[in-house]
C-alpha cells in the first residue's frame, strides 16, 4: 500500500514537472525562436513575476508561521533571569523582522521591477561612499546596542556570587541518566571523583570527606521556589548538556571538570501548570494524544497516558545511542514542601554504611554526622 502511494506520488511529481516545463515552453510561443538557452524578454517577464510571487510566498509563510506555530514556542520563563533573556530576545526579534521585511521586499521587488527588456540599458552606478557609510554605520549602532544589552544580561546571569545564599546541587550526568546530589545542611558538596565510584556510591563521592557526610543523592530533582539554586555539573563519561528550557538555563557537563549555572525559580510546578498558556498547550497536546490513542487502540495497542506538564532537564549534547531519552523530572516546590521533601531523603553516607555493613546495623547514628564542622572552602574537586 505504502509503496503504491509512493509510486503514485512519484508519477504525479513527474507529471507536474512535465507540465511546468510545458508552461515555460508555452510562454515562448510568439517570440522569435531563441536557441541559445539565454533568457529572452519572455523569460524575464515570467521569472520577474514569479519573483514577485515568491515575495508573497515568503510573507505568507512568515505570517502563517507566526499564527500556526507561534504558540508552540517557549513562553513565560520560570526563572528570575528568564525575563531578561526574553526581553533581549524580543528586542532582537523586532529588529530582525524589520530588516527581514524590508530587505526581502527590495530583493524581490527589484527583481520584478527591473526585469530585462531588450534594447534597454542599465544604469551605470558603480559606487557611492555615502550609501556604504549608511549601511555600515546603522548596523554598527544597532549592534552596539544589542551587544551592550547582551553583555549586561550575560554578566548578570553567568557570574555567580559565592557570597549569596544559594542551594548547592550537583547535577551528575552519565550515559543516559541524570542524578542530583544535594549538599545537605552544610550546603557544601563533598569531594568527588570517578575513581571513588564503588557499589551504591555511583557518583564517586569521597566518603572520607567531612563535607560529604550529609550529601543526598536522588534521581528526581526538587528545587525550592524563590531561592537561587547553584548547580555544579559533572559528567562521568562523555559530554552532556543540562538543558532546562523553561528556566532559560543550559550548561555542558564535561568529564574532568565542574561547570556551573545558577538560577532562581519563580513558579512552582503547580503554579506553572495553571498558567493560561500552559493549560492551553497541555489540552492541545492531550487532544493530539487522544487522537493517536484511538489509532493505537484500533490497531490493538495500548492508549497513551494523558499528559500533565512537568519541568524537564534534557540532555542537549549528543552523548550516544540513547541520547534522545536522557531526561530528569524537575519539581519546583514551595520552600516548605521542599524542606519536607529533603528531610525524607536518605543520606548517602548512611546508605553506603548500610550497604557495607557485614551484619544488620545496630544503631542509627548517622544523623549525628550532620554536626560535622564545615570548612568554608569549595569542596568540589
Amino acid at each position: 500500500m505504502t509503496s503504491l502511494l509512493v509510486i503514485i506520488v512519484l508519477v504525479l511529481l513527474a507529471v507536474a514537472l512535465w507540465q511546468l516545463t510545458k508552461i515555460f515552453d508555452l510562454t515562448q510561443v510568439g517570440s522569435s525562436v531563441d536557441n541559445s538557452q539565454v533568457a529572452n524578454d519572455n523569460d524575464n517577464n515570467v521569472q520577474g513575476y514569479l519573483m514577485f510571487g515568491f515575495l508573497a510566498f515568503i510573507y505568507i509563510l512568515t505570517i502563517y508561521g507566526l499564527f500556526a506555530w507561534g504558540g508552540l514556542v517557549l513562553h513565560t520563563p520560570a526563572s528570575e533571569h528568564g525575563a531578561l533573556v526574553d526581553s533581549l530576545m524580543n528586542i532582537s526579534w523586532v529588529l530582525l523582522f524589520i530588516v527581514q521585511a524590508i530587505t526581502q521586499v527590495l530583493i524581490h521587488y527589484f527583481s520584478f521591477k527591473y526585469r530585462g527588456k531588450s534594447g534597454q540599458k542599465a544604469l551605470y552606478f558603480a559606487d557611492n561612499n555615502k550609501l556604504e557609510a549608511v549601511w555600515s554605520i546603522i548596523p554598527a549602532v544597532v549592534l552596539a546596542g544589542l551587544i551592550l544589552y547582551g553583555l549586561y544580561a550575560w554578566t548578570n546571569i553567568m557570574f555567580i556570587d559565592d557570597e549569596e545564599d544559594t542551594v548547592v546541587i550537583e547535577l551528575y550526568a552519565q550515559q543516559f541518566k541524570w542524578s542530583a546530589r544535594y549538599a545537605g545542611e552544610d550546603n557544601v558538596l563533598g569531594k568527588a571523583n570517578v575513581r571513588y565510584i564503588e557499589g551504591i556510591n555511583t557518583l564517586g563521592v569521597d566518603m572520607s570527606d567531612p563535607n560529604a557526610q550529609d550529601d543526598i543523592v536522588v534521581s528526581e530533582l526538587h528545587i525550592p521556589k524563590g531561592r537561587k539554586v547553584h548547580f555544579k555539573m559533572r559528567s562521568q563519561d562523555v559530554l552532556h548538556s543540562a538543558y532546562m528550557p523553561h528556566f532559560r538555563a543550559q550548561m555542558n557537563c564535561v568529564p574532568g571538570m565542574v561547570t556551573e549555572f545558577a538560577f532562581e525559580p519563580i513558579y512552582t510546578t503547580a503554579e506553572y501548570r495553571e498558567l493560561p498558556y500552559m493549560i492551553e498547550k497541555v489540552s492541545h497536546i492531550n487532544e493530539l494524544r487522544a487522537q493517536k490513542s484511538t489509532k493505537l487502540v484500533a490497531s490493538g495497542g495500548t492508549a497513551l497516558d494523558p499528559y500533565t506538564f512537568d519541568y524537564l532537564l534534557l540532555c542537549n549534547k549528543i552523548c550516544g545511542a540513547s541520547h534522545y531519552n536522557m531526561q530528569m523530572k524537575i519539581i519546583v516546590d514551595t520552600p516548605e514542601d521542599y524542606k519536607k521533601w529533603i528531610k525524607e531523603q536518605a543520606i548517602l553516607a548512611v546508605q553506603v554504611k548500610e550497604a557495607n555493613a557485614p551484619a544488620p546495623a545496630i544503631g542509627n547514628e548517622a544523623p549525628a554526622q550532620d554536626s560535622v564542622i564545615v570548612a568554608p572552602v569549595v569542596a568540589v574537586k
Binding site: T2, I107, A122, S136, P255, N316, S322
Partner: protein, 598 residues
C-alpha cells in the same frame, strides 16, 4: 609578460601533436579545467549521498514509529531490521551527512571546482602555478572521499558522534559503536582531506599573486578571484589546526595519551586518562570550524557577485567596499570561534569577548547584502537560472544571517544552543546559500566547462521548486527550535512535551522529500546537457571577464595565441561611453575615455 605568453602558446601547439592518452587527459590530468570538472562531478556524487541521507533521517523524524521498506533496502537488515531505523544509525546518518555536505560538497566541490576553473581563466594564466600539485590535490581529495564512504561499510558502523566529533564520545568505542573503526577512518579521511585542501589553497594563492596577466592589477580582479584568494588564505591559516586536533585525537584514541580526556568511568571501569580536557578539543575544532563556514560561503559570495553583475548588466555596486568586506569577514572569522562554546564550561568572560567579535561580523555582511541589492536596482536583469539562484542566495543569506544575531549573542544562545533553531540558521545561511551559489555557478559556467548549454526551462523548474522547499524545510525549524526541541534526537516520542511539534516535523519532511527528489531535475539537466546540450557560443552571457575570451573547445594553455592584456576593471556593464552594454576587460580604453568608478 605578453611575449612570454606567446611562446607558451607555441609550446602548446607542439604539445598538441603528442597524442594524449585517456589516462593523462581524463584521469591524471594536470589541466586545471579538467581538474575542476573532476572536483565538480565528485562533489555532485557526494552531494547525492549526503542529500539522500538527510531524506532518510527526515523520514525517521516525521514518522518515528513507522517502518519503511526503503530503510531496509538502503540500510540493510543490520541497521534497519524490518524497516525500522536503529537509534545509533540515525546518529551515524546525521554525522556523515554533516561531514559530507560541509567538507566534501561545499568545501571541495564548490571551492575546488570554481577556484580551479576560474582562477587561471579569469586572471589570464595558462594554468595553475603547479599543475602537478593540483592533480595530487584532487586525487588526495578523491582518496579521502573513498575512505569516508568506505567507513559506511565497517562492522560497527561509521563515525556517529556528530560532525563536530567531540571527545570523549568520539574517542571511546565503549561510548558509541561508531567511535571504533568508523571514527578511525573518519580521522584518516579528514587528515588526507586537509592535506589536499592545503595543496589546493597554496596553489590558488601563488597563482593569484604571481600569474596575473599584464594589466590585471589586484583592483581589476573579478570578485570571484578575490573571494577564492581570501578563502584560500583562511584555509591555510585554519585547516592545519584541525589537522593537529585530529592527530591529538588519534593519539588519545590509539596511544593512550590524555589530551582531551580525563576522569572517565565507562562500562563499569575507570579509564586511565587524567588531566586532559574536551574543551581544548572544542577550541581547536572551532578554530577551523568557524572559519570553515566562511570557506564555504565566501566563494559562493564571489560567484553570486559575478553572476549578479553580468546578468544585471550593471557594475557590481561598491567593488572596493566588497573587497574590504571580504577582508573584514576573513579577519573576523578567525576570532569568533568561541561563539560555538558559550555554554561549554569555558570562562564566561570569554563568552563576552566572543559575543562582541561575533556580532561585529554582521557589519561587513550587511555591506555585502546591501551592495547586492543596490546592484539589482535599475538594472536590466537577465533572469537566467544562474541569476535566479544568485538572487535566491541573497534572500536566504539574509534570512539565515539575521538569526545569527540571536545565536551570536551569548545570553540568547543559552536557550537556543543545540536546538533546531541552530539547524535552521546554519542551513539557510551557509548550507542553502552556498548551494545556491554553487548551482548558480554551475548554470553560469557550464558552457565554459562543457562547451554546451544547460536547458533553461529545467533550470527554472529546478530553482523554483528548490526555493520553495528550502524555505519550507528550514523556516518552520525556527519555531520548533524556539520551542526547545534539541537537535540530534532520534525521536521525540519520549517527550510528550513536544507532541505538538510533530505535525511541523511532518511538514518539514514533506518539503525535504519533494525538494530532494526534484534535485533529479538538476542531475538530469546536468548530465544530459554534457552530451546533448545545445552547443555554446563563446560568450553566451555577454560577460566581461577573460574566461569568455578563450575558445569554446578546451585547449591546453587556455588561449591559442597570446594571453590577452587587461585594460579595465571587470564590471564595465552599460558603460555610458560605449554603445554595447558590456566591455570585456581586454578591450583597450578609447582615447580620452575616463575611468568611471573608484
Amino acid at each position: 609578460m605578453s611575449a612570454e605568453g606567446h611562446d607558451h602558446g607555441h609550446d602548446h601547439e607542439h604539445e598538441h601533436h603528442h597524442k594524449e592518452t585517456f589516462i593523462t587527459k581524463y584521469i591524471f590530468s594536470i589541466d586545471h579545467k579538467m581538474i575542476a570538472k573532476q572536483y565538480l562531478i565528485t562533489g555532485i556524487i557526494m552531494g547525492i549521498i549526503g542529500i539522500v541521507m538527510s531524506m532518510l533521517f527526515r523520514m525517521q523524524l516525521a514518522w518515528p514509529e513507522e517502518s519503511f521498506k526503503i530503510f531496509n533496502v538502503l540500510l540493510g537488515d543490520k541497521w534497519a531490521p524490518d524497516g525500522v531505523m536503529k537509534n545509533d544509525v540515525y546518529l551515524a546518518l546525521v554525522t556523515i551527512h554533516g561531514t559530507i555536505m560541509v567538507f566534501f560538497v561545499l568545501t571541495a566541490g564548490l571551492s575546488g571546482t570554481f577556484s580551479n576553473l576560474l582562477i587561471p581563466l579569469q586572471i589570464g594564466a595558462r594554468d595553475m602555478a603547479s599543475g602537478f600539485m593540483n592533480m595530487i590535490s584532487y586525487w588526495m581529495f578523491f582518496l579521502s572521499a573513498v575512505i569516508m564512504l568506505s567507513s559506511l561499510f565497517v562492522e560497527a558502523g561509521p563515525a556517529s558522534s556528530g560532525w563536530t566529533i567531540y571527545p570523549p564520545l568520539s574517542a571511546l568505542p565503549q561510548a558509541i559503536p561508531g567511535s571504533g573503526m568508523g571514527m578511525t577512518l573518519w580521522l584518516i579521511s579528514m587528515a588526507i582531506f586537509i592535506a589536499s585542501s592545503l595543496m589546493g589553497s597554496l596553489n590558488y594563492i601563488v597563482t593569484v599573486i604571481n600569474l596575473r596577466t599584464k594589466g590585471m592589477s589586484m583592483t581589476r580582479l573579478p570578485l570571484t578571484i578575490w573571494t577564492f584568494f581570501v578563502t584560500a588564505i583562511i584555509g591555510v591559516v585554519s585547516f592545519p589546526v584541525l589537522l593537529s586536533a585530529a592527530l591529538l585525537l588519534i593519539f588519545d584514541r590509539s596511544f593512550g595519551t590524555s589530551f582531551f580526556l580525563s576522569d572517565i568511568y565507562i562500562a563499569g571501569e575507570v579509564l586511565h586518562y587524567q588531566g586532559g580536557s574536551p574543551v581544548l578539543f572544542e577550541h581547536l575544532f572551532w578554530f577551523l570550524g568557524h572559519p570553515e563556514v566562511y570557506i564555504v560561503i565566501l566563494p559562493a559570495m564571489g560567484l553570486v557577485s559575478e553572476i549578479l553583475a553580468t546578468n544585471s548588466r550593471k557594475p557590481i555596486f561598491g567593488y572596493r567596499a566588497m573587497i574590504m568586506s571580504v577582508l573584514a569577514i576573513a579577519f573576523l572569522s578567525t576570532i569568533v570561534w568561541g561563539h560555538h562554546m558559550f555554554i561549554s564550561g569555558m570562562n564566561p568572560f570569554l563568552g563576552s569577548v566572543f559575543t562582541f567579535t561575533t556580532l561585529l561580523i554582521a557589519i561587513p555582511s550587511a555591506v555585502k547584502a546591501f551592495n547586492w541589492i543596490t546592484t539589482l536596482w535599475k538594472g536590466n536583469l537577465q533572469l537566467n537560472p544562474a541569476m535566479l539562484f544568485s538572487i535566491g542566495m541573497i534572500s536566504t543569506f539574509i534570512t539565515g544571517g539575521l538569526t545569527g544575531i540571536i545565536l551570536g549573542d551569548s545570553t540568547l544562545d543559552i536557550n537556543v544552543h543545540d536546538t533546531y533553531f541552530v539547524i535552521a540558521h546554519f542551513h539557510l545561511v551557509m548550507g542553502i546559500s552556498a548551494l545556491y551559489g554553487m548551482f548558480g555557478g554551475i548554470y553560469h559556467w557550464f558552457p565554459k566547462m562543457f562547451g554546451r548549454m544547460m536547458d533553461k526551462n529545467l533550470g527554472y523548474v529546478h530553482f523554483w521548486i528548490t526555493a520553495i522547499c528550502a524555505y519550507g524545510v528550514f523556516f518552520p525549524m525556527h519555531f520548533i527550535g524556539l520551542a526547545g526541541l534539541p537537535r540530534r534526537y532520534y525521536t521525540n516520542t519520549n517527550f510528550p512535551l513536544f507532541d505538538d511539534l510533530q505535525n511541523v516535523n511532518v511538514l518539514i519532511t514533506v518539503f525535504a522529500l519533494v525538494g530532494g527528489v526534484f534535485q533529479l531535475v538538476f542531475l538530469y539537466n546536468f548530465f544530459a546537457s554534457i552530451f546533448y546540450g545545445k552547443k555554446a557560443v563563446q560568450n553566451p552571457w555577454k560577460s566581461n571577464t577573460l574566461e569568455w575570451t578563450t575558445p569554446v573547445e578546451h585547449i591546453h594553455g587556455n588561449w591559442p595565441g597570446a594571453i590577452p592584456e587587461v585594460h579595465r576593471w571587470p564590471y564595465d556593464y552599460s558603460n555610458p561611453n560605449h554603445d554595447v552594454d558590456f566591455v570585456p576587460q581586454n578591450v583597450p580604453m578609447k582615447p580620452g575615455e575616463e575611468v568611471l568608478h573608484h
